[in-house]
Symmetry: C2
């Protein structure tokens, strides 16, 4: 074999590139695991958020999970048609839909959570528990810059 697998590039050292590759692998593993329950990642995320937050509006769900309102409509539609959540008009604010998890939704969530945990364990199999916590902490700080950073020049172009 002539070509080595090479240590390619400047690219491979950029956090943005590494994040993209790692996220792709994570998505692949988790989506594959959740597919056994017929759910996609966002479905599981919404289901889990609904279980935690109780009856919530779709807009609030979208804000908490950074999901586009357009996509949220489709997700809730499918979850509702599967009987995993209920969508009832909010009497206090008739614009809103109160999304709540159903009994079967809670049951399904228990299984998908186990599958998601398994997939994440495989994703971080090369890391020690301490390193995994470290990764989680670092990623968390990367994700939320606006809540902490107030002086960063917002790329004034």
């Amino acid at each position: 074999m002539a070509e080595d697998p090479y240590a390619p590039a400047r690219i491979r050292e950029l956090p943005s590139w590494l994040l993209g590759r790692a996220a792709a692998r994570g998505h692949h593993l988790v989506a594959g695991a959740l597919a056994r329950e017929g759910l996609r990642m966002m479905h599981h995320a919404v289901l889990s958020a609904v279980a935690e937050l109780g009856p919530v509006s779709q807009a609030e769900l979208g804000r908490s999970l950074s999901i586009d309102p357009k996509d949220m409509v489709a997700i809730v539609n499918e979850l509702q048609s599967r009987g995993l959540v209920t969508r009832t008009p909010d009497p206090k604010d008739r614009r809103k839909n109160a999304i709540a998890i159903s009994v079967s939704g809670r049951r399904r969530l228990r299984r998908t959570e186990a599958l998601g945990d398994e997939a994440n364990a495989e994703l971080t199999a090369a890391l020690s528990p301490a390193e995994r916590e470290q990764l989680i902490a670092l990623l968390t700080r990367i994700i939320q810059p606006e809540e902490l950073a107030c002086d960063t020049t917002e790329s004034s172009e």
Copy 2:
């Protein structure tokens, strides 16, 4: 409604979710920066890889960057039409295209590399240099499991 920004979910502690969010932010920042030069992330990645590897076939570029051959065609097409790379048939193997960076491509690459570095600096602004290196190391190990792990059941599915 003055709801707190909440400490949402089990979801927000999963590495797969955090990786997805962080990658989305990284892509947003880098893509926005590179857009000033009229290039997308993959264009810049390919351009950088070509600069490093010298004349390479498209298939080899795709393998090194995990880019689908189909997408590689479109990327090389655009890079070539912009005069940033040259695509000459390989005399030794007429199936292959020898992709090489041009002079203007090298010039453009210098600018896009600076823009990419800036964007990555902003992406990791909340991290100290040591933490950034830590993150890179952890991500690198997450990405390449096959090259190290030999006993992990590869979830043949």
